[in-house]
Symmetry: C2
Subunit: 217 residues, 2 copies
Amino acid sequence: MKVLVIGANGQIGKQLVTLIQESDSLKAKAMIRKQEQASYFEELGAETVLVDLEDDTKKIAEAAEDVDAIVFAAGSGPKTGPDKTMLIDLDGAVKSIEAAKQANVKRFVLISSYDTSREAIQEADSSFAPYVAAKHYADDWLRRTDLDYTIVHPGMLTNDEGTGKIEAAEKVEANKVPRDDIAQVLLACLEDPSTIGKEFQVIAGDTRVREAVASLK
Amino acid sequence: MKVLVIGANGQIGKQLVTLIQESDSLKAKAMIRKQEQASYFEELGAETVLVDLEDDTKKIAEAAEDVDAIVFAAGSGPKTGPDKTMLIDLDGAVKSIEAAKQANVKRFVLISSYDTSREAIQEADSSFAPYVAAKHYADDWLRRTDLDYTIVHPGMLTNDEGTGKIEAAEKVEANKVPRDDIAQVLLACLEDPSTIGKEFQVIAGDTRVREAVASLK
């Protein structure tokens, strides 16, 4: 199974491509924005494709034509300008979802934000609220498709070393989670079809990733 | 018929409240953000209600409880920060639409942007694209409701004096249009139920507003 990783050059994206390349049954196609980002992925034996998320849907669909699954790991992040929040976190995600449909790729895994509910937009402070709103509308768009989707809602992302252990459920108490472990969660979702149609929050915890993901309600 | 004008303190909003108050069958309830904005509307004999579009849906729904129609004339405008583009032009519009549903207000007239198609987002320059995207998603949200909606897509808004004459159709060539004439278009939509379920572009033209609006396909 070949997986298009959108946002491959981000921290989670890089780790995910590494894990995919180490796995037995998956291989990665890294969607990157700049040619100079390619060598990292080529050294891992992964394919690369140059597409900017501000390009049109057709260009993204072409990148997805030969893959079996898409992971949307791109994120302008809450610290980028809010113009990119609109064009990457919302519109880039929606174009990726539409590209999946156009390219007949059924499986779509989306990294969202911890809580993207209507209430969470209201409660977020003013600098974070646009990001939560972007993720709210992107999640909503994906839920309304008939793609085989999984939406992952990570707690507060850290650069701590991964432990391979998490707590995952529809609702978990807000807490931190290493980016490394989120990459493992994404891999587990790709390898476990029982995650199709599910969405869940993830924080650091005591259960091995694969087990935690397999036992999601 | 009482009309809640959301964004009443904007240029189009002020003009619309004036026209509504001058009309025979309509009266306006101006939704404003600050108490000091109230006197302008009180002098016109219009009701006012203090709600911020960053408030929650419930607060907007309360403001809409005694009205028969809502006009969304708010706009951070393409020149505000893109954080407000997300929170006002997109999320504020969606909350207003949801508030209409909650308050059982069927009639909803939305001022959109000239062209909010997927292609228009792609073609817009990078400073304008987030605004087009916000309007794209707000329009889409409204179309998917069962409200009695009308979506008005004005050409490039100017502060020129209105002529009372426009050109309106599903597609018209890009051109300017005075804000005053857009206020007249909104009034005509409120007074003409044949505009329900329609959306159209408007530029300056040679046809009287009421006639142009009545003859929309």
